[in-house]
């Protein structure tokens, strides 16, 4: 397992001078200011990830007209509505297949899928597996707040054992899904996990995803103070940051089979995996060209307009 | 536009002509090219003869290896009802197909069988005329068993004249790979020759072995 460059952990607000995400906001240009205020609760981690995303975009210097964000449904799913990019708020669980169509019909686009843990791994779990298998060039950002927040904090496939949610009032007992392990096994070519405490690393991982080709997956462990933290006596957003800081262990070479989330145990973070293999479009083109020779008409950018 | 079920065969299926419509069932087992045969026949009628033809094939467990069959309606006017109600012509390439579809054959209808694979054990509807051809044996002698369906088509063409000879040939050649054109042409030709010989001899199917053109394929 090869790994990407390892950003050093930096506490919040101690980044390179002039790049402080809290003291100053260079990300406004990426937001639909006409839609503010946003719906997210105070202390919610989703906004932090959007901050990181905006900064990552800025750093890549990508042509923003060619960057598209696709979301499913959920608190995280609302991200598509706040970023000032071509953006699609689709249906619950189906952001990835929508993004698949976008990417294949216009390969010039940089397609980001931004959604929640429930959306991507439960109702949309099958699409996640298959997009990874295909090594489709999508950049998938999964905000994992360990619960179905938008609907009021029910148990999710990602809810750690013993956690209290509205549908596990006596504590969850199903093992939580280990998402990095799953997507790596399914064929993802970039896999990372950070928490909203690790803003610099999160941003760097996003930056890497945005500039590489192939199925790239980032899990960001994020607080839902309103529903998950509160019910599990984990304090507010700030307490959660402290908690993340205490229990996180960065290990790019972690054995992915052993990094499943628990309620209060260690959170293994890192850029776990980065490998090269032909992405879906490369594989498709190579195969068709090989079989059809000059009869093959390759699809380029926006091939099918009027 | 050629006449349908013309000349001699009028006798075979009188009310078919009255209705200007010929209902055909082609049946056998998987691998015999039954569906392709029906498709070629339909194509010959609908494209090269310029009449109307509707082909439906039976799907389901039937289409997976075991028995398979196709239905073809050929008519001067657009076909309305897509299925065979009473077959004017049954082409049976296997015993099972024969047993299953012979009750559907019309009185005075025409029965074409692969003579080595079908034994006519049960009573046929009244006035049915039967013709048999060793299509598989002929195909094997020509070099490839897979053209048995094309031999059968040639035979069909000779004894029924539902489609013109020219249309049949065009339909065959436009349906098989170019590398197989010569073989298919030979198969079609052989089928036609045997069919014509049977027809002209006026002998019942059981006695066709006496016809030299026929017997030549049997040893």
């Amino acid at each position: 397992m090869s790994t990407a460059e390892t950003p050093t952990e930096m506490p919040l607000c101690e980044q390179a001078p002039g790049e402080n995400p809290i003291c100053e906001n260079p990300v406004e240009q990426f937001l639909r200011t006409d839609r503010m205020p946003h719906i997210w609760c105070p202390g919610c981690g989703i906004g932090t990830t959007v901050n990181c995303f905006a900064r990552a975009l800025l750093k890549t210097g990508l042509d923003l007209r060619k960057v598209v964000v696709v979301s499913g449904i959920g608190c995280t799913g609302r991200v598509a509505g706040y970023v000032k990019l071509d953006s699609f708020h689709t249906t619950h669980g189906r952001a990835i297949p929508f993004a698949t169509g976008l990417k294949l019909a216009n390969p010039e686009l940089t397609v980001v899928v931004y959604s929640g843990d429930g959306d991507l791994t439960s109702i949309g779990g099958n699409h996640l597996i298959h997009a990874a298998r295909r090594n489709l060039d999508l950049k998938v950002i999964c905000v994992n707040n360990l619960t179905y927040s938008m609907t009021g904090g029910q148990a999710a496939a990602t809810t750690p054992e013993d956690s209290i949610t509205t549908t596990s009032p006596y504590g969850a007992f199903e093992p939580a899904m280990n998402i990095p392990h799953l997507v790596a096994a399914a064929g993802a070519t970039f896999v990372a996990r950070w928490t909203t405490f690790h803003v610099a690393q999160t941003m760097k991982a996003m930056q890497r995803m945005l500039t590489r080709r192939g199925f790239s997956f980032l899990e960001v462990i994020s607080p839902c103070p309103t529903l998950y933290q509160r019910r599990n006596q984990m304090g507010d957003g700030l307490d959660t940051m402290k908690h993340y800081k205490e229990v996180s262990v960065s290990n790019n070479n972690a054995n992915l089979a052993e990094i499943g989330m628990t309620k209060s145990g260690q959170i293994t973070v890192g850029n776990f995996l980065e490998i090269e293999r032909p992405d879906y479009l490369e594989a498709m083109r190579a195969q068709l060209r090989n079989r059809l020779q000059e009869r093959y008409i390759e699809v380029g950018g926006a091939p099918c307009q009027n | 536009m050629p006449e349908l079920a013309s000349r001699r065969e009028v006798a075979a299926a009188p009310d078919a002509v009255e209705r200007e419509l010929t209902e055909i069932r082609v049946a056998g087992f998987g691998g015999q090219g039954v569906i392709l045969a029906a498709q070629i026949l339909g194509k010959a009628a609908a494209i090269f003869d310029g009449v109307h033809a509707t082909m439906t094939q039976n799907f389901g467990p039937e289409a997976r290896g075991g028995a398979c069959s196709a239905q073809l309606i050929v008519a001067r006017h657009p076909v309305l009802y897509p299925y065979v109600t009473k077959a004017d012509i049954l082409v049976a390439m296997s015993q099972e197909a024969f047993g299953k579809f012979v009750p559907e054959l019309k009185q005075g209808g025409l029965l074409l069988v692969e003579r080595d694979l079908v034994r006519i054990q049960q009573d046929l509807p009244e006035r049915v005329r039967t013709y048999g051809v060793p299509a598989t044996r002929i195909a094997e002698k020509l070099g490839k068993r897979v053209v048995q369906n094309i031999v059968m088509l040639g035979f069909f063409g000779a004894v029924t004249e539902v489609v013109s000879r020219k249309a049949m040939e065009q339909a065959v050649l436009s349906s098989v790979p170019a590398s197989m054109a010569a073989l298919n042409k030979d198969a079609l030709q052989a089928g036609y020759e045997v069919g014509r010989a049977c027809l002209e001899s006026r002998l019942p199917a059981s006695e066709c072995d006496q016809i030299p053109e026929y017997a030549a394929w049997l040893d």
């Binding site: 708020h89 698949t100 294949l104 699409h127 699809v299 099918c304 | 609908a46 439906t56 799907f59 389901g60």
Partner: protein, 386 residues
């Protein structure tokens, strides 16, 4: 605008309905399809997957119908014309995304080759049991357009039309085939590309700063933009305002839902396609669609031979329902006979539109095969009082 010749297989062919449907999609400009195999619709995408690489476009076999039905919408917003195909169980799985297409006004075509149901039902045998599902299958109130071909030839022409209507009205359009039509092989005439009219996508001519994705326009069909062109617009399945932003108020909801409905009702004249056969002076008229129309015609012939003045009305577009045509007809005949391969779905609509003005005689059939023309003939006789 006419068809791009690279996608048009001009000539006379012997094709089944599924194959012809694929050719219609290509002639209509489809350059993207996503599918998931299901009998009896699979042949459509099998052919598409073979044809499209030499025409310039993409086919992807998705992991399920949920994925297929939304992947095509992604492709549409990236600039492609797109369609998906399915049958029975797959159609049920697609429902949520039919609603999404209606709500986001994404032009796309859903082909349903109807088979016997419910559930797995009869995978290889026909029915017309999804007609109401096409109309009402997704939750909420939305209009739709559905066309019913009766032959492989029409699978071609109506698929082109479906692609065109989707663009004209920015709405999902259904091509409601059935197993018989899909698997039946007949002559199909594909005309030269320059004679096939193709409706271009209605794209905005506004500059990025001025573009409002769901702006009111005269025909109520807002011009759209594609991703990657610099408009940086937002599309959501939530109730949205003209900017495309979520706005969950009674006023926005009322405005949006009304417009979605009205853009179709206003376009009725351009959508409705109904064929009449001797309805003037008829005592009884048989109203039918799809494969049943052909069977009904045989019954009509038999009835005429008995001296009954019987006419035929064939619904090429079933949705939106030709309400006024049926109502007008109802006032002039003794009975309307409605044979269909279901237990009486369109018959309910006919009954509603007849508003008691005439006798409505459904001829239900559970599917697995077509009607025996005799069944329809009996209903005609009953309607005529014989």
């Amino acid at each position: 605008m006419h068809a791009d010749p690279t996608g048009v297989l001009t000539g006379t062919h012997f094709l089944n309905g599924d194959q012809a449907c694929c050719e219609g999609a290509l002639a209509g400009g489809a350059r993207f399809s996503a599918g998931y195999p299901i009998t009896p619709s699979t042949e459509i995408v099998e052919r598409f997957s073979k044809r499209i690489p030499t025409i310039g476009g993409v086919f992807i076999q998705m992991e399920d119908e949920l994925a297929a039905s939304i992947a095509i919408q992604g492709a549409v917003w990236a600039g492609a014309k797109a369609f998906t195909v399915t049958s029975g169980p797959g159609f049920s799985l697609m429902m949520e995304h039919i609603g999404l297409a209606a709500m986001t006004e994404t032009p796309c075509v859903f082909v349903d080759v109807q088979r016997g149901g419910p559930s797995t039902g009869l995978p290889t045998l026909p029915a017309q049991g999804d007609m109401m599902q096409a109309r009402f299958g997704s939750h909420g109130d939305y209009p739709c357009i559905a066309l019913c071909p009766s032959s492989p030839q029409e699978c071609f022409t109506l698929m082109v039309r479906a692609m065109n209507l989707a663009e004209e009205f920015r709405t999902p359009v259904f091509l409601m085939m059935d197993e018989v039509v899909g698997h039946m092989t007949e002559r199909v005439q594909i005309p030269p590309a320059e004679t096939i009219a193709v409706t271009p996508r209605k794209l905005t001519d506004k500059a990025p700063g001025e573009f409002r994705p769901y702006e009111d326009s005269e025909d109520l069909v807002p011009p759209m933009a594609h991703a990657g062109e610099g408009y940086q617009f937002h599309v959501t399945g939530l109730t949205h305002d003209e900017r495309g932003y979520p706005s969950m108020t009674p006023a926005t909801q009322a405005k949006l839902i009304r417009r979605l409905r009205e853009k179709i009702t206003r376009g009725m004249d351009r959508i409705t396609q109904v064929e009449e056969d001797n309805v003037d002076g008829a005592e009884v008229v048989v109203v039918s669609y799809g494969i049943t129309m052909r069977v009904a015609q045989r019954a009509i012939k038999l009835a005429r031979a008995e001296g009954i003045a019987v006419g035929g009305m064939r619904l090429v577009t079933v949705w939106p329902f030709p309400e006024e045509r049926i109502h007008a007809l109802a006032g002039r005949v003794r009975a309307l006979v409605i044979p269909e391969l279901n237990m009486g779905q369109v018959a309910l609509e006919v009954e509603r539109c007849a508003r008691g003005a005439t006798q409505v005689i459904p001829v239900p059939h559970a599917g697995a095969t077509v009607h025996d023309p005799q069944q329809i003939l009996d209903a005609i006789r009953k309607g005529a009082g014989r």
